[in-house]
């Protein structure tokens, strides 16, 4: 499992996650991920390389989203593979961290809110 910081904008921190967010995957990236999500900037996560997610991975995302929320910021996921999106929807996470089709949709959504 890998977490990579992508080129970020003035308003957003962009992150790429790739691999399987299972027990081992979460353990691999949890600290780096939490360091990248400082809370001060809205976070855009490219999920295109994520092949699996279970509750441990969801817990990691949810605590990051809660941290962002206390600072008035958001977390958006984009390019989420269908099975991963199904799991996130079942867990009701899509209402907490919007899931959009791609990066430009994510940026549009943020502009609409400004």
């Amino acid at each position: 499992m890998k977490v990579t910081q992508l080129e970020s904008t003035e308003k957003t921190t962009n992150i790429l996650l790739s691999g399987s967010l299972d027990i081992a995957g979460v353990r691999d990236i949890e600290m780096d991920f939490s360091r990248l999500v400082s809370g001060e900037q809205t976070v855009l996560i490219d999920f295109s390389g994520v092949t699996f997610i279970a509750s441990l991975g969801m817990r990691m995302l949810l605590s990051a989203a809660k941290k962002l929320d206390t600072e008035g910021n958001k977390m958006l996921l984009h390019s989420v593979p269908p099975l991963v999106e199904t799991a996130l929807n079942i867990a009701g996470l899509a209402t907490i961290m919007p899931i959009v089709k791609n990066e430009s949709d994510a940026l549009n959504l943020l502009e609409d809110h400004d």
């Binding site: 699996f52 279970a54 929320d69 009701g92 209402t95």
Partner: protein, 146 residues
């Protein structure tokens, strides 16, 4: 034709991880769809981590037995542990509609399993918990339909 595979693991996260990989390979070699394999992985990881986290009243290492039965397009997963009595079907379910401020961080694992499996049943026999999970390739839950 039915194939049975029995695994005995110690109650540690490391053993869960390597078991997940083995079962993943088995399901792939039997040509199950990505969707079923995804659900299977969720069920195994969630049920086993739940046992390791909460089932035992002592600090000793315990044995967990996992039986994978493949019969045509149906996978049956049976998990047997000697922890205290716990019926996942009666577990308190999280409120997955609450807003970000009120959303609980834990408790989603059993919920996911119950939603993604076709059938989950529970039995207590000889001081052991038997959780049986059925997944079939004519799958309804993971299609996104309610």
């Amino acid at each position: 034709m039915t194939n049975n595979y029995t695994f005995k693991i110690k109650s540690t996260y490391t053993e869960i991880e390597s078991l997940c990989m083995k079962i993943n390979d088995l399901a792939q070699n039997n040509n199950f769809s990505d969707k079923i394999i995804f659900c299977l992985n969720i069920c195994i990881e969630e049920m086993l981590t739940n046992i390791v986290k909460y089932a035992y009243d002592d600090k000793n290492e315990h044995e967990i037995e996992v039986i994978l039965e493949i019969a045509g397009k149906i996978i049956t997963l049976t998990i047997v542990d000697d922890g205290h009595e716990f019926n996942p079907l009666k577990a308190k379910m999280p409120d997955v509609s609450s807003d970000i401020k009120h959303r609980q961080i834990g408790g989603i694992g059993i919920f996911l399993t119950l939603k993604m499996a076709d059938k989950v049943s529970y039995n207590r026999r000889n001081s052991k918990n038997f959780i049986k999970i059925l997944l079939s390739s004519t799958h309804r839950s993971a299609t996104g339909k309610k």
